[in-house]
């Protein structure tokens, strides 16, 4: 299909310190020019009417290919966690990579070990050839330090970043909440928050020794973030991420045994939450992702400890990210570094920025429209959001994937 050139005019471009008025030309599926002076014949023009024009969101670490939810949320690419399957075989990776095309690109993350069992190296090299863009340990970490060391070194030799879940399995065995008043009052098995810092500390030592680049998918505690901050100051190749849940909710959200707030890692204390906000503001946190994990009543309408962890987050990611902007913690451009540019860089994609030559994965954002999160009316195939009922502002109003209009 031949695509006509596209001009998005009268927009606020998110490509610098602050949104600036401008226009953007797309040709052959790529960004051809910013503020073009010459417009080719036959160009289709879209009037952005002063809305933000930003790169499409690249959601780093989702658990399901849930296209309606991603499209609602302005997500043009998603890095799929290897847990379903698990993605430990080149054939599975190849199939997952084709899952959403053309209007959603799925970038499978290769399972670090066979069956994600944490014992034997998976065929990371063959999975890379099949389309895997990074390696991941899945929902849990690799307990065996020897295996982890080999995974890191091996993945690094292939030019792949290893995406890590950081929780010490000895401390968290059987736990469904973080130690604290809420868990104790509810009578829920809980683990100390240091389970995260302990796991991070081990892996940072391995990074220092192997030089392998890593991304801690979710760092949610003050102590964990302190370790990341120190590692970055040392110059270690370390990135870390978070989801809006740990930025905007503390463990009080599990009161009344709300299973939509049963997450992995579990929600933390208010002090840790404040530390996460500070780390988003000071740049310690590099990536904001949804952790999208839609789960129906069969997984969630259960007693708290029997329910499975996870939240449907794709639809609320952008609006909650905009909260950070409105609260003055990050600039719009830094928000889109966290949502798109840094994930693109980690995955090695020509996308994630409003820059000539990049893939034209674009979204228009009305940053002011108020709406209310409603678990019963979600586009996702399950509405398990811990933000049910929360009033938010801002949503994607149009999106293009490789210059192709999706909505």
């Amino acid at each position: 299909m031949e695509l006509k050139p596209l001009l998005i005019a009268n927009a606020q471009l998110i490509d610098g310190d602050k949104p600036r008025p401008g226009s953007l030309l797309v040709a052959d599926g790529r960004i051809a020019a910013l503020d073009p002076t010459e417009i080719p014949d036959g160009t289709e023009t879209v009037d952005a009417k002063g809305q933000w024009l930003a790169p499409g969101i690249i959601d780093l670490g989702v658990f399901a290919t849930d296209k309606p939810a991603f499209h609602f949320g302005g997500i043009t690419r998603a890095a799929l966690m290897p847990d379903a399957g698990p993605l430990d075989h080149p054939g599975l990776v190849e199939r997952a990579a084709k899952g959403g095309k053309p209007d959603l690109w799925v970038h499978p993350l290769a399972a670090a070990t066979k069956g994600l069992a944490g014992k034997e190296l998976a065929e990371i090299g063959l999975m890379k050839s099949a389309g895997a863009r990074a390696v991941a340990t899945g929902r849990s970490r690799i307990a065996d330090s020897g295996v982890m060391r080999r995974v890191l070194a091996y993945a690094a030799s292939l030019g792949l970043v290893t995406i890590i879940h950081a929780e010490d399995e000895g401390l968290t065995a059987g736990a469904v909440a973080t130690d604290g008043e809420m868990a104790t009052r509810l009578g829920l098995a809980s683990a100390p928050a240091i389970a995260e810092a302990i796991a991070i500390a081990r892996d940072l030592a391995l990074v220092e020794e192997t030089g392998a680049p890593v991304h801690f998918r979710q760092v949610t505690t003050a102590r964990g973030l302190d370790l990341i901050r120190a590692a970055k100051a040392k110059g270690l190749p370390v990135l870390c991420g978070i989801t809006p849940a740990h930025l905007f909710l503390s463990d009080t959200a599990i009161g009344d045994f709300r299973t939509f707030a049963r997450l992995s890692p579990p929600l933390r204390s208010e002090d840790d939450r404040q530390a996460c906000l500070a780390a988003a503001a000071d740049g310690t946190i590099d990536v904001l992702s949804s952790g999208h994990d839609p789960r129906g009543p069969e997984d969630k309408r259960l007693p708290f400890a029997e329910a499975l962890p996870g939240m449907a987050g794709a639809e609320t990611l952008l609006a909650l990210g905009l909260n950070l902007v409105r609260d003055g913690l990050v600039t719009p451009s830094r928000l889109f570094d966290m949502l798109a540019a840094t994930p693109a860089c980690l995955l090695g994609l020509d996308a994630g920025r409003l820059k000539v030559g990049m893939e034209a994965d674009l979204i228009l954002i009305d940053d002011g429209t108020p709406w209310q999160v409603d678990a019963k009316k979600m586009a996702a195939y399950a509405g398990n959001t811990p933000f049910d009922g929360m009033p938010v502002q801002g949503r994607a109003t149009a999106m293009w994937k490789g210059g192709l209009r999706i909505r």
Binding site: D179, R185, G187, E298
Partner: protein
């Protein structure tokens, strides 16, 4: 020994305002006067239960009560069954072992099935914290929590409060030491809530491995030394230690636990000379409590607790079904 502390009915708000709950999920939802209201109501049933051969009242005649126990229980189930029958209700027991739960039916589906059978009240025990609340949200009749995971066991706390009140003449201003596996105990949580709410000083005496995190936020003082924790206590409340906790994960062995935390006659001397000894049962004699203490004729309240259990459960069943029965003032 027994001092009556029952208040006149005029001390309470009229009708249904005296107990404004459809269900009894936990002590956490109750006010001090609501607890006291239940205890006063239970006193009447104590008298009836002691009244000789015809221990019967027919106020719940025609009502069906389902005791749905998803976790094994002998004494609590029996206590609820007797309480329901003494009030004239038709009582049906459902054991998890006999139910479709084992066949993979979800808890909600089981609850909806029971609901469709038009029970007038359900008494539920489940191994998961929050499970009883989950069911209560889905059914049309009052639900009584007979124990959910480590969360709450409200009728146990109420019967313990009644036992204390009858023995001590009051259940306020006392020092109560709750000793043992507090971490895994719903009895401890409900008792901490009830006893602190009523204005007692509550101590938690437990090995560090069995002390819940941040338990001090529930307004208790924690002790790891049993002798210190018992010092000058008016009430010593022992908890059952489950065998699976003694295999090395939480405690090295039963004999070490007995050496450090077992309630021996010598240890009991640290408490007030008239301190009472409580245990929710079933006991592990020689582990958390010595037989000579458990069987002490004046200080042990263990059988009295069982007796109060029936009275308290009768009171709860009566109060929670008043709306359905159209009792005046309970709309």
């Amino acid at each position: 020994m027994t001092t009556s502390t029952t208040r006149p009915a005029s001390d309470y708000p009229p009708g249904g305002d005296a107990f404004r709950h459809r269900h009894l999920i936990g002590i956490a939802q109750l006010t001090p006067w609501e607890i006291s209201y239940v205890l006063d109501a239970a006193e009447e049933w104590v008298d009836l239960n002691r009244s000789g051969a015809a221990k019967h009242d027919d106020r719940l005649a025609g009502l069906t009560i389902i005791n749905a126990f998803f976790e094994n229980s002998t004494r609590t189930l029996l206590s609820f069954e007797i309480a329901g029958k003494r009030l004239g209700a038709d009582v049906v027991n459902m054991h998890a072992a006999q139910s479709s739960v084992k066949k993979g039916e979800t808890l909600i589906d089981t609850a909806m099935t029971l609901n469709a059978m038009r029970a007038d009240a359900m008494v539920i025990r489940h191994g998961s914290s929050g499970a009883v609340q989950l069911i209560a949200d889905k059914v049309d009749c009052p639900v009584l929590n007979a124990g959910d995971g480590r969360h709450e066991h409200p009728t146990q706390a109420l019967l313990d409060a009644l036992t204390i009140r009858r023995r001590k003449g009051k259940v306020e201003g006392l020092t109560v030491a709750i000793c043992g596996d507090v971490l895994h105990s719903r009895v401890a949580r409900s008792n901490i809530l009830a006893l602190t709410l009523l204005g007692n000083e509550v101590r938690v005496v437990a090995p560090p491995t069995l002390t819940p995190p941040a338990i001090d936020r529930m307004h208790v003082t924690t002790f790891t030394d049993m002798d210190e924790g018992l010092k000058d206590a008016d009430v010593v409340m022992m908890l059952r230690l489950q065998n699976e906790r003694m295999d090395g994960a939480y405690l090295p062995s039963a004999r070490e636990y007995h050496a450090l935390y077992g309630l021996t006659p010598k240890r009991l001397e640290k408490a007030q000379p008239d301190a009472i000894v409580m245990h929710p049962g079933p006991m592990n004699r020689g582990v958390e409590i010595d037989s000579s203490v458990a069987d002490h004729p004046t200080r042990s309240t263990i059988t009295e607790q069982v007796e109060m259990g029936v009275a308290v459960r009768m009171a709860c069943l009566d109060i929670l079904t008043r709306r359905q029965r159209g009792v005046a003032g309970w709309n």
